[in-house]
């Protein structure tokens, strides 16, 4: 009887901006593996016309790409089936956060990577910190850019190893100015927006802290070996944390940011995360757009691996707190009220009521 294949190991090279050298370092590792006799192929590689990177790929077996037609244009993408047939020990896959061409079997490249891992293939891949879902609002605040292509945090948690690809902002700006990263006309624009030195420094600090967090999460407890708490408390895996977070879902657009923030706090506190929408039974048929918005938010929550429910009740604060209490919730996350006159009264009222009804819990009003 054949055993199910061992799941492949996932290594993610994490950078903080385009041009930080993620692909280069990943290919460097692949070359070293090859020199040790490991069977390694390149599953997908995006050269972006960078000479150094292209040279690094030389001598490595490159899997042909798959051609897909979409709206009259031909797109090239990773050929996952071909890689499965070739079945290497290690496969190198560029741009983990990439969105596949519509009509592909899977929407995101990271889903293809999961398929490779399931088949027992080790994968080396890379992404930038700004693609991490829970950082989306923080990245917007820093850079003024809303990143559209995101990867849920739990996907990053699947990695066996996350490695920081570090370079100083100045070196990055130099590369940009010399046209190594982008073609000159594009570089000019990039320099003005995303790549201001202070932005880069902030993104870099976030990436360093994220990786420190990832490293901490993966530390195993060893019986008889003390944990060193001088810099970071020991992690408590498998929900030994007593904290439980509940997020209030509403039709309002701020719910997305609220969910992202709660997800992030839950991950850092090792807390469970729940979300709930209170459908007011007396209000009858809610407006169609509101229904759609709520469904979108509930789906989004589930994508972030947040357990999302619909509650019925005539009084949102009461229903929410009752649900919280029944589920051992310790922290309730709500969005900051928008201060239109009407809304303000309603929302403030809601926050006060929750505080009053749940004196045993913490209420967090998130700056969305």
């Amino acid at each position: 009887m054949a055993d199910a294949p061992r799941r492949g190991r996932l290594t993610i090279f994490l950078g903080y901006a385009a041009g930080s050298g993620k692909t280069y370092q990943m290919l460097e590792e692949a070359q070293q593996l090859k020199s040790k006799g490991v069977d390694v192929v390149i599953g997908y590689f995006e050269p972006h016309g960078r000479k150094d990177t292209i040279a690094k790929a030389e001598g490595l077996e490159m899997m042909p790409r798959r051609k897909l037609e979409y709206r009259g244009a031909v797109f090239e993408d990773m050929d996952t089936e071909a890689i499965l047939r070739r079945k290497p020990q290690v496969c190198v896959v560029d741009e983990f956060a990439h969105t596949n061409v519509p009509g592909s079997e899977r929407t995101k490249r990271w889903e293809d990577v999961m398929v490779l891992l399931d088949a027992g293939i080790d994968v080396y891949t890379n992404m930038n910190i700004q693609h991490l879902e829970s950082l989306n609002d923080q990245i917007l605040r820093i850079t003024g850019v809303r990143v559209r292509e995101t990867t849920p945090d739990w996907v990053l948690k699947q990695a066996d190893e996350v490695v920081m690809v570090d370079v100083t902002p100045r070196a990055l700006l130099n590369r940009l100015a010399r046209g190594v990263v982008y073609a000159p006309e594009k570089a000019d624009q990039a320099l003005r927006n995303f790549f201001r030195e202070s932005n880069l420094a902030a993104l870099r600090e976030i990436a360093l802290r994220q990786i420190a967090h990832e490293v901490n999460l993966r530390q195993t407890r060893i019986p008889g070996l003390p944990n060193h708490e001088a810099l970071s408390p020991p992690t408590e895996p498998q929900a030994t944390s007593s904290e439980r977070i509940l997020v209030q879902v509403t039709p309002h657009a701020s719910t997305a940011a609220l969910l992202r923030r709660a997800r992030r706090v839950a991950d850092y506190l090792h807390a469970d995360c729940l979300a709930a929408y209170v459908r007011e039974s007396r209000s009858g048929s809610a407006r169609r757009e509101e229904q759609d918005a709520v469904n979108r938010h509930l789906n989004f929550a589930r994508n972030l691996h947040i357990d999302a429910r619909i509650l019925e009740g005539t009084d949102p604060a009461k229903a929410l707190v009752a649900f919280a209490r029944a589920n051992g919730v310790t922290q309730i996350f709500v969005a900051r009220p928008r201060y239109t006159r009407m809304n303000r009264l309603l929302r403030e009222h809601l926050i006060h009521r929750i505080v009053r009804l749940a004196p045993d819990m913490q209420i967090i009003i998130v700056a969305t």
């Binding site: 570090d166 100083t168 420094a201 600090e205 420190a212 009003i365």
Partner: protein, 362 residues
């Protein structure tokens, strides 16, 4: 923010900052978390690239144990021979200053010089070289940072002798963390028994976490001085800063403990703020003193302000310092005052744009 007119003093600071950067020699540090991470290689590789771009690069100090990779790289450079004493070697600082290159490569920054040398420590040699206007690329291991000495000794069980003060790294213009998966370092150690391997992995992982956080701290330091020099209106928030507001009546113990846990988990900062209330009775005074004593005990930074408008003072402080979360108590009792002038917590929520508010009922 962008159309804000900078005041002359700010402009001056910015000009000074840029001039200082242009003319001054710079220090760039490659930080690793264990030997074998490839710091020296990265340093030499950068030296090579600079040389190819036409900079005048020399080597003043190399490691004693060299990998083949590194030895091959060394052949491309001009080396200023070190001074040799009975016990050890030291950089020939006078020779470096006489040669006066643009860039000087110095490996093993934490090296202790033999007693006959002009400086006790190699990092002091580097300081001299920098002062002479020569830029330095250097490599150092986390083990050797003075402030981490004890923790590292606890983790590795080995005595650390040679150290560099953290302040020296904080003043570096650039720092790069050389990060590789710990398994690659383990591979080099050869066959290990299972438990031994696990223990080693755990140790490497702890050192790695520390190195990443140290680099984050250095980057944050640079970011702050950059923003100050450029007169940015609001700080860019790259890590969590938690502000716990205490009053005599607040449930301060719970709030500070929760703030501490959050700060630790996020590797952020904890600040406890008290806006002085006039005319406290002795009991309330004692309560506030005990709150602040507890804050001090857990290592929080303490800020005490005098302001007739406590919420306004807290908001101003929070905005100026890039606070990401404000922890505040909320009384369940409604008194005549809140009914007339409005609830202070409401005002905080309304005005604290971009900051999370965490309410602790009391």
């Amino acid at each position: 923010m962008t159309d804000r007119r900078p005041d002359p003093e700010q402009l001056l600071r910015q000009v000074e900052w840029e001039e200082a950067l242009r003319g001054r020699a710079t220090l760039k540090v490659f930080l690793g978390y264990a030997s074998g991470a490839g710091k020296s290689f990265r340093m030499l590789d950068e030296g090579r690239r600079r040389k190819e771009r036409g900079e005048d690069v020399v080597i003043a100090a190399v490691q004693s144990k060299l990998s083949v990779n590194v030895r091959q790289m060394l052949e491309r450079f001009e080396v200023i021979p070190p001074l040799r004493f009975d016990s050890a070697e030291a950089i020939d600082v006078s020779a470096v200053l006489r040669r006066c290159p643009q860039v000087c490569l110095v490996d093993e920054l934490a090296h202790t010089n033999p007693p006959e040398s002009r400086n006790r420590q190699r990092w002091q040699d580097v300081e001299e070289i920098l002062k002479a206007g020569i830029s330095v690329l250097t490599a150092v291991n986390l083990h050797h940072i003075q402030e981490y000495k004890e923790v590292v000794q606890q983790i590795t069980g080995k005595e650390v002798c040679d150290t560099v003060p953290k302040g020296f790294l904080l003043r570096a213009e650039e720092i790069v963390v050389v990060d590789i998966p710990p398994e690659q370092i383990l591979e080099r150690l050869g066959q290990l028994e299972e438990r031994e391997r696990l223990v080693m992995e755990r140790r490497l992982s702890e050192l790695r976490e520390m190195a990443l956080l140290l680099a984050a701290e250095v980057v944050d330091h640079q970011l702050e001085s950059y923003l100050q020099a450029h007169g940015a209106a609001a700080p860019l928030v790259a890590h969590e800063k938690i502000l716990v507001c205490v009053t005599p009546r607040s449930n301060a113990h719970t709030m500070i403990a929760s703030g501490l846990r959050n700060a630790q988990r996020f590797h952020g900062e904890l600040i406890v703020i008290y806006v002085r209330q006039p005319g406290l009775n002795p009991e309330a005074q004692a309560a506030i003193e005990s709150h602040l004593a507890f804050a001090r005990e857990v290592g929080a930074r303490i800020v005490i302000l005098e302001d007739p408008d406590p919420i306004g003072a807290i908001l101003r402080f929070a905005r100026a310092h890039g606070i990401t979360q404000i922890f505040i108590g909320h009384s369940l009792r409604r008194n005549w005052r809140t009914r007339i002038v409005g609830d202070p917590v409401d005002r905080l929520i309304r005005q604290a744009e971009g900051i999370d508010i965490r309410i602790f009922p009391h």
